[in-house]
Symmetry: C2
Subunit: 274 residues, 2 copies
Amino acid sequence: MLYIIGLGLGDERDITVRGLDAVRSCHKVYVEAYTSLLSFGLASDGLSRMEKLYGRDVVVADREMVEERADEILSEAVDSDVAFLVVGDPFGATTHTDLVVRAKKMGLKVKVIHNASVMNAIGACGLQLYHYGETISIPFFTDTWRPDSFYPKIQKNRQLGLHTLCLLDIRVKEPSLESLCRGRKCYEPPKYMSIHIAINQLLEIEETNGGSAYNAETKCVGIARLGNDDQMIVAGSMKELLDIDFGPPLHCLVIVGETHPVEEEMLEFYSIKS
Amino acid sequence: MLYIIGLGLGDERDITVRGLDAVRSCHKVYVEAYTSLLSFGLASDGLSRMEKLYGRDVVVADREMVEERADEILSEAVDSDVAFLVVGDPFGATTHTDLVVRAKKMGLKVKVIHNASVMNAIGACGLQLYHYGETISIPFFTDTWRPDSFYPKIQKNRQLGLHTLCLLDIRVKEPSLESLCRGRKCYEPPKYMSIHIAINQLLEIEETNGGSAYNAETKCVGIARLGNDDQMIVAGSMKELLDIDFGPPLHCLVIVGETHPVEEEMLEFYSIKS
């Protein structure tokens, strides 16, 4: 049996009781370390705190391991119970759906244990989940690569009066260009997109496209460390949010659409007071 | 302090370890019993199983109690810790956002503990969460009331190639018309919309509107008891799904938009095999 268990958004204690029981019953436990990160992933004692609560050795599976050695992990689950722990909810990222597909093709039993993810916990900012349009991802711009495929999606959401959740790029364990050229892998330090970078990139793309989807005065909500004790939520225009220090990652951003009274009341609590 | 704690989608064991610790530290514990229901809400021993695991007496708060006596509940949280347990995630329903707003206006400290909800666990059907458009709710039609405000939303999602999550009506503790006329409240038995009723209503509305947003051949995914051990997921055309017995509630439905390869592979597992 392969268990794919969501860890939620905070630390090791955000696993569900059902998930904890499953982990403790497993022979082997992996934790993914690439689609996102937990606050305890940043802390130096994160892994040991996990192992202590879960009562199991936990093997960190980075992107390479999951992509290159998935069959190995899956074959272990043929004769014994294996847990694959995932930040947020198991179906938050395509990679895990792919893992489920491979497991099912092998005839493995798969049990998914759900948890909170940014896709529903974003409700915390006060905007109702059913008033969101398509979710977009904003990648880091480079000198030569400034993709804008998210722009028409924002435009459509705004035409429909819907909110847009912007997921911000995370680059963990990316091979450095230099190391690739030398033929051996070295990794760039991890990089998490801040709300400031996201807004600057959004404004640049708006200027290039000129589609008037939004501008520096457009109301947004910046959210840092969603679901953690030090979560920070601030509502204001893009320009105003550029003046806010949101602190450490992870950050995400919501571009606000048309609002209903109860949404406005909630945003009021998070507004920048002049 | 007011804790608003998500219970997730299954039973009492889907609470997070963080949530469980919070409940056990509280002086008074309420559980909401109206926006949705847990599988243990249907089982006769549901409440006692909850009380056993949580180690606390749990007061069931129905819709009337929350709407009429919210101030009372909140005032208890001024001097002691009160937990308000919510099926799914705390921000899945407007009612809880409203409770947070009222609490914050009273100057109460509010701590939210997130969990899975249909809004993210729906990823289990294999369609990627960021390819969904606006979520719609389908209410029970009556002889005289056949609302279709969801129709243009589906139409727009489909024009954009996006999936549409349809939340199906739940009617719990609705006063019966007869009892209202007699001046004392009696309640209708609980009523949960099935996938069959939803599809029939959708097809009726399509016929009335004639907007060609979808038809009996449109690919959908029917999901029953999402996140529970006896969860059932079937992909097929609207017409095909009308022949499937999805069993007990809760049901929901996804109208499939344009699909990507990994989505198609997952849907294949859930397809009706001829």
